[in-house]
Structures are given as structure tokens and as C-alpha cells.
């Protein structure tokens, strides 16, 4: 069970990373990066690193996404690639 969950989350991580760098909207890229960070946090909770998972859930998925959204609202959503 845990083995299969591991594989699903590892493939989701790769898909979300590719989506975050290919989507043509910076706000969408920020939200996809937040989902990527949350999948990483689940992966570390599965691998037994609970302290790292806590820190990643608060700092990586929380504060980083807020930083990205704030920066996108202060600049522009338009991107060419």
C-alpha cells in the first residue's frame, strides 16, 4: 500500500514540476508550485522524516506560495514562456 502511494506521489511530483515551469500564466505557475511543495511534504511524511514534512508544509507550501502570489500581484501575470 505504502509502496504504491510512494510511486503515485513521485510521479505527481514530476508532473507538477513540469506543469509549473510550462504554464503560460505566472499565477497558475505559483499555485502549481504550491501543489508541488505539498506533494513533496507528503513524500517526506511517508519516508519517515516527519519534522522535515512539518517544516515543508508550513514554510515551503505556505510562505513560498504567499511570496509568489504577492510578487505576481506586484508585477505582472503575463509571461512569454
Amino acid at each position: 500500500m505504502t509502496w504504491q502511494l510512494d510511486h503515485i506521489i513521485l510521479s505527481l511530483v514530476i508532473i507538477l514540476a513540469l506543469g509549473a515551469i510550462t504554464v503560460k500564466d505566472l499565477l497558475g505557475a505559483a499555485i502549481l508550485f504550491g501543489a508541488y511543495s505539498f506533494m513533496m511534504c507528503l513524500l517526506w511524511a511517508i519516508m519517515g522524516a516527519v519534522d522535515v514534512a512539518f517544516t515543508e508544509a508550513s514554510v515551503g507550501a505556505g510562505v513560498s506560495t504567499v511570496f509568489f502570489v504577492a510578487a505576481v500581484f506586484r508585477t505582472t501575470r503575463r509571461t512569454k514562456d
Binding site: V13, A17, L18, A49, V50, F67, A71, V72, K80
Partner: protein, 131 residues
């Protein structure tokens, strides 16, 4: 040959680490947008954290909390029963450093946008050359 393939398949965490690191470097090198470059930098950082956590993980092991810690006279502690906590502690520091570099990079991107009114690298270069 079959042993080699079995070893390569069983270390799938490291393959995902390599793929994520290449995705991050690709974003840093080829994307023109500054926010996309910063996202690529963060993907590289999380890939390195994944590599270190994979070093410490063990199959069939539990969290590194000893259940008979205070009167541990009659109990032996087997290291193979517990996950190695040293990479976890190192990576806690790395996550904090990652969010600090992210804040500095986004602040620089906002200053560049106020100066040149764009986030694309090629347009910034043409505007610097025009001045």
C-alpha cells in the same frame, strides 16, 4: 545484468531526484521569465532535499524515538530499527535557507520590474542597451 536492472529499479527515489534536478536546471537556463527562473531554482533545492532524505530512509524502520529512553539499562538499541535522523536535521536548515533565498530573489525581481517595466530577460537586455 538482471542484478543491475533490479538495483536500478529499486533506487527509484534517486531517479526522481535526477529528473527533478534536470527539470530545475532546464528552467533556470532556458526560460526567459525571471519568476520562472526562480521557480526552477526552488525545484533544484527541493530535489537536493529529496536526495538527502532518501539517504536517511530505511525499509522497515521507525521514527528515531527510543521508547525505553529513561531507564535503558536492560534494553539494547538496534540502529537498523530507526531511521537516520542526521540528514533530516541538515535539511531543516536547507528549507529555511531556501525560503530566505526565495524572498531575496523575488524582491530583486520586483525591483527590476519597477525599473524596466518587464520581467522578460531579453526585453530587459534591449532596454539596458537603449539607455
Amino acid at each position: 545484468m538482471n542484478d543491475l536492472v533490479a538495483v536500478l529499479i529499486s533506487k527509484y527515489n534517486y531517479w526522481v531526484y535526477i529528473i527533478l534536478m534536470m527539470i530545475g536546471f532546464y528552467a533556470i537556463i532556458t526560460k526567459k521569465n525571471l519568476v520562472k527562473k526562480i521557480i526552477g531554482m526552488n525545484i533544484v533545492q527541493t530535489a537536493i532535499i529529496l536526495f538527502y532524505i532518501s539517504i536517511g530512509a530505511k525499509k522497515g524502520a521507525t521514527l528515531p524515538i527510543i521508547s525505553h529512553g529513561h531507564d535503558a539499562v536492560g534494553h539494547a538499541v538496534h540502529a537498523s530499527d530507526y531511521i537516520n535522523p542526521l540528514p533530516h536535521v541538515l535539511m531543516l536548515t536547507a528549507i529555511v535557507v531556501a525560503v530566505a533565498t526565495l524572498g531575496v530573489a523575488l524582491a530583486l525581481a520586483i525591483k527590476i520590474y519597477r525599473q524596466y517595466n518587464t520581467l522578460e530577460e531579453d526585453e530587459i537586455h534591449t532596454r539596458i542597451r537603449e539607455q
